[in-house]
């Protein structure tokens, strides 16, 4: 009989360690001991809204599915063959359960302060036992339609997807994660099973837990629930993207008090090496604060002039599928903010970034990373979504930050920030005539 293998990895400088278990079922399990009151567990699959054209390696044909199906499937996992819904099962242990779907993954999770292993058993059990019927699919269409309508009334969401559509021509980040009321109407239980059997293979999934736990006890629960499974590889069609943006502008009108803007910076330089991506992630994080943080010239000047408000901020995303940088906020004059952004970037390129700023911001990044270990939910979310599913190791990140150098960061700055990479999305208030 094949046994599970356990390895431990430790980073004494930050006082953290984790156990990696290659479970005999084929599942990767990560156990991060923490002496906190709250236990947190997350069981996820590398299946998100962008994976809409796929096949199991060896299959002749690709299957194309309606937009929003990964999210729909997530909802339907909460229904079970015994008629008891998943929330009711967790209610017996008192765990607080939830799930979410992003572009790249679907995550099932719970937190609790008691009866952790019982709750873990429920988690592993319901996610590995799909049960979809025609009736239950119909019932869910009404609920998700309201979730979609709620999103359609949300200006922040309109801004985000407007920006994605302006930046990307082909990438499925153009598509709303929940789909549309029309697209989800095309979903039936056969399609759900097809997606489930493709992506919810233990080889495409991982489990991560944190709290006052031991790997032995976690393995015991996994042994009880998980049957060894033949793992397979999934192939998805991910359309290629040009470095240039699809179009430089997106605007729409909604009921907002002040225009919302987002300046997107598109980047298609994505390494296939996870360690390189980790390095670039660190460089982009430090650039957020150097260029647009609370102490930056850009923020302070525009804030003093009243061009931006406290809602201003910069963020980025850099993973195996997409890479972008974004500066967003509220302004009465988004076009003026954009033109100041262009001038500011030019000036930074001409004068060069400041080494002092770099050191200061790297220190903040290091500290934020350490602070993230004060919560089991933050640890697990970061560990699984940003590291494991990217093929990387979170405990290596402390060294990546320590070793990050100014020249590399400057190089990343110059390669990401280029004129043809920018798009401006804006949500303007309604015209007087459109108000009720």
């Amino acid at each position: 009989m094949i046994e599970s293998r356990v390895n431990v990895k430790e980073n004494p400088a930050i006082g953290e360690k984790y156990y990696y278990v290659k479970h005999k079922s084929g599942l990767d399990i990560y156990v991060i001991p923490k002496k906190l009151s709250t236990y947190y567990a997350m069981f996820g699959t590398k299946y998100g809204s962008v994976h809409n054209k796929f096949r199991i390696k060896g299959e002749a044909e690709y299957t194309e599915v309606p937009d929003g199906i990964a999210h729909f499937l997530e909802h339907k996992m909460f229904e079970n063959e015994d008629g008891e819904d998943t929330f009711a099962k967790f209610a017996r242990t008192g765990a607080s359960a939830n799930a979410y779907t992003s572009f790249l993954c679907t995550m099932y999770l719970f937190s609790c302060t008691d009866k952790f292993y019982e709750s873990l058993e429920i988690l592993l059990d319901y996610v590995t036992k799909p049960y979809f019927t025609e009736q239950s699919v119909q019932k869910e269409q009404g609920i998700i339609a309201q979730e979609i309508r709620m999103g359609e009334d949300n200006p922040g969401r309109a801004l985000f997807f407007g920006l994605m559509r302006a930046m990307y021509k082909n990438h499925n980040a153009r598509i709303d994660i929940a789909g549309t009321v029309e697209s989800i109407a095309k979903i039936d239980h056969h399609l759900l099973y097809k997606c489930y059997n493709t992506f919810y293979n233990l080889g495409n999934m991982a489990l991560c837990v944190s709290g006052d736990v031991t790997p032995e006890e976690v393995i015991a629960v996994a042994d009880k629930v998980l049957k060894p499974q033949a793992t397979h590889e999934v192939e998805c069609i991910e359309p290629a993207e040009d470095p240039e943006v699809n179009r430089p502008n997106f605007t729409c009108r909604m009921q907002v008090a002040k225009p919302l803007f987002a300046i997107g910076v598109k980047d298609v330089e994505i390494s296939s090496n996870p360690y390189e991506r980790m390095k670039k992630n660190a460089a982009m994080t430090v650039l957020e604060n150097m260029l647009f943080g609370g102490a930056s010239e850009f923020y302070n000047k525009l804030y003093e002039e009243g061009l931006i408000t406290k809602s201003f901020g910069a963020w980025h995303d850099h993973n195996h599928s997409m890479s972008m940088f974004c500066v967003q906020g509220e302004s009465d004059r988004p076009e003026e903010v954009y033109s100041r952004f262009l001038k500011y970037i030019d000036k930074q390129k001409r004068d060069g970034l400041s080494k002092d700023d770099f050191e200061r911001c790297r220190r903040v990044m290091f500290s934020n990373f350490i602070k993230g270990f004060d919560s089991t939910s933050e640890i697990v979310n970061n560990f699984l979504g940003n590291f494991v599913f990217e093929g990387a190791d979170m405990l290596d990140y402390a060294e990546v930050i320590r070793e990050l150098d100014f020249e590399y960061t400057d190089k990343i700055f110059r390669s990401v920030f280029q004129d043809s990479h920018y798009a401006l999305a804006t949500v303007y208030p309604l015209e007087e005539a459109e108000k009720v």
């Binding site: 002496k35 906190l36 009151s37 709250t38 819904d85 929330f87 009711a88 209610a91 017996r92 008192g94 765990a95 607080s96 302060t113 008691d114 019932k139 269409q141 009404g142 609920i143 309201q146 309508r149 709620m150 359609e152 009334d153 922040g156 309109a158 407007g162 009321v181 997106f250 729409c252 009108r253 909604m254 009921q255 907002v256 008090a257 002040k258 943080g293 609370g294 102490a295 010239e297 302070n300 804030y303 003093e304 009243g306 809602s311 509220e330 200061r360 911001c361 220190r363 903040v364 990044m365 290091f366 500290s367 934020n368 350490i370 602070k371 004060d374 919560s375 459109e434 108000k435 009720v436």
Partner: protein, 431 residues
């Protein structure tokens, strides 16, 4: 365990929870005043104006550089209401000294910056700098107006305001636009002097530090707030609704938002508040509650339907986002579930689920320093200091009958409906 409470001076207290489980230390300083229309706007402005600059760090850029230098230990402004009390102040999560890359007394230096912010603001002619005040007024007005952007929040707030119209609780902690406009550097400075010399001050520390040293440093800093004239803090409670008020507001959005406001006849000051907590949890507090299971899962009417309580004011708001055409259906079901609860139709499983879920949420508080602070601050206002663990123990004995009796005390006061006027396929024109 309740915090150790140390009196630093008259009306100035330090609350300490020692724990070594975090890599950060939490510190906050809060000032308590009655929630009133005359002062709400000034209270909302003050923390932001103080964060614009100090004598030593005269602008935002230099202050933020200092926070960065202290390992990203930002001091952020607080402004919220607890019943009819307004609380303003500052908080910060501070990296523990031992994780500093080079030896830095991060905590004591951070307290030095907090002292600067609270007691040494940049002044001009003996009052706040006019441009700082004007800038923050503009920002605050923007924030007040921006409340319309978030419909979920907006519909709850509107229901609460309609329900409590004429009561101090209806005063927004952000103030009204006209009141913000009327603030001058002089009037704000006058208000500031009162805040630091005539109010109740509560400091919180959660973490691991030399408490003797910390107490001395904080006494040096905040001891000057000593006063014997701090205003009394109390909340008027209307225990029952007389008749139901109904308000419908049209807006160009797709989804309707239904909010039902109730008077609960039970506040945190009452001995049986734990019974109300159980009732709210069972009725609309979790994914196994009556509202979630019936309005969402059985009838597919919505994505969310839940009940929120305000412990000091004794009110509860049920809110949901629905298709406009289903307004009556949703409202009927929400009220029918309340009737069933009153009639004692509560299963053992529902009772256990509510109890387990509440106990879990109480115990999870221990992992979040800011939540622990909020827990005890809220209790301190009504003279209690029971811990989350005490609360978990108290609900053990609550029965279905207790909950039914509590549900009978709850009365419907206001029905607010945000009526979406956009057709589903209508919308924002994209360019």
């Amino acid at each position: 365990m309740p915090p150790t409470r140390i009196k630093l001076a008259d009306s100035v207290y330090l609350n300490v929870i020692e724990t070594d489980k975090f890599k950060t230390n939490f510190i906050s300083a809060e000032f308590f005043i009655p929630l009133r229309a005359e002062t709400a706007a000034k209270a909302a402005l003050l923390p932001s104006v103080l964060l614009r600059g100090t004598k030593k760090y005269p602008d935002m850029a230099s202050l933020n550089r200092q926070f960065d230098y202290l390992y990203g230990s930002y001091i952020w402004p607080r402004n919220y209401k607890l019943g009819e009390t307004q609380v303003i102040g500052f908080s910060s999560y501070v990296l523990a000294d031992k994780y500093a890359l080079e030896p830095t007394p991060i905590m004591s230096e951070l307290l030095g910056v907090m002292e600067e912010i609270v007691f040494s603001p940049v002044t001009e002619g003996g009052v706040f700098r006019a441009d700082y005040v004007e800038g923050e007024k503009r920002n605050l007005i923007d924030r007040i107006k921006a409340q319309i952007n978030n419909k979920n929040y907006y519909a709850v707030k509107r229901c609460r305001d309609e329900m409590c119209r004429g009561e101090a609780y209806a005063v927004s902690e952000l103030g009204e636009i006209e009141d913000v406009q009327a603030v001058t550097p002089e009037s704000l400075y006058e208000f500031y002097k009162w805040i630091i010399s005539g109010t109740r001050v509560e400091l919180y520390f959660v973490g691991s530090f030399d408490i003797g040293k910390l107490t001395e440093q904080l006494r040096d800093i905040f001891g000057r707030c000593a006063n014997i004239s701090a205003p009394e803090l109390k909340t008027e409670v209307i225990r029952r609704a007389e008749k139901v008020k109904e308000v419908i507001e049209d807006q160009p959005v797709k989804q309707g938002k239904l909010s039902l406001g109730f008077r609960t006849d039970c506040t945190l000051a009452d001995r049986d508040y734990h019974v109300f907590a159980m009732f709210r949890e069972l009725y609309g507090g979790s994914p196994t509650s009556k509202l979630f299971v019936n309005v969402r899962e059985k009838l597919s009417l919505c994505y969310y339907c839940s009940a929120m309580g305000e412990a000091h004011k004794g009110i509860m708001i049920v809110s949901s986002g629905i298709d406009v055409a289903n307004k009556q259906k949703a409202q009927d079901e929400i009220l029918r579930q309340l009737e069933l609860t009153r009639a004692g139709e509560i299963t053992e499983a529902e009772l256990a689920a509510a109890r387990n879920s509440l106990k879990n949420s109480y115990r999870e508080l221990y992992d979040n320093a800011d939540s622990i602070k909020s827990w005890y601050t809220s209790r301190m206002l009504v003279g209690r200091d029971d811990s989350p663990e005490d609360a978990a123990a108290a609900i053990e004995t609550v029965t279905a009958e207790d909950i039914a009796n509590m549900a009978k005390r709850v009365t419907l006061d206001t029905i607010y409906f945000l009526n979406g006027t956009l057709k589903p396929d209508e919308g924002s024109d994209e360019e």
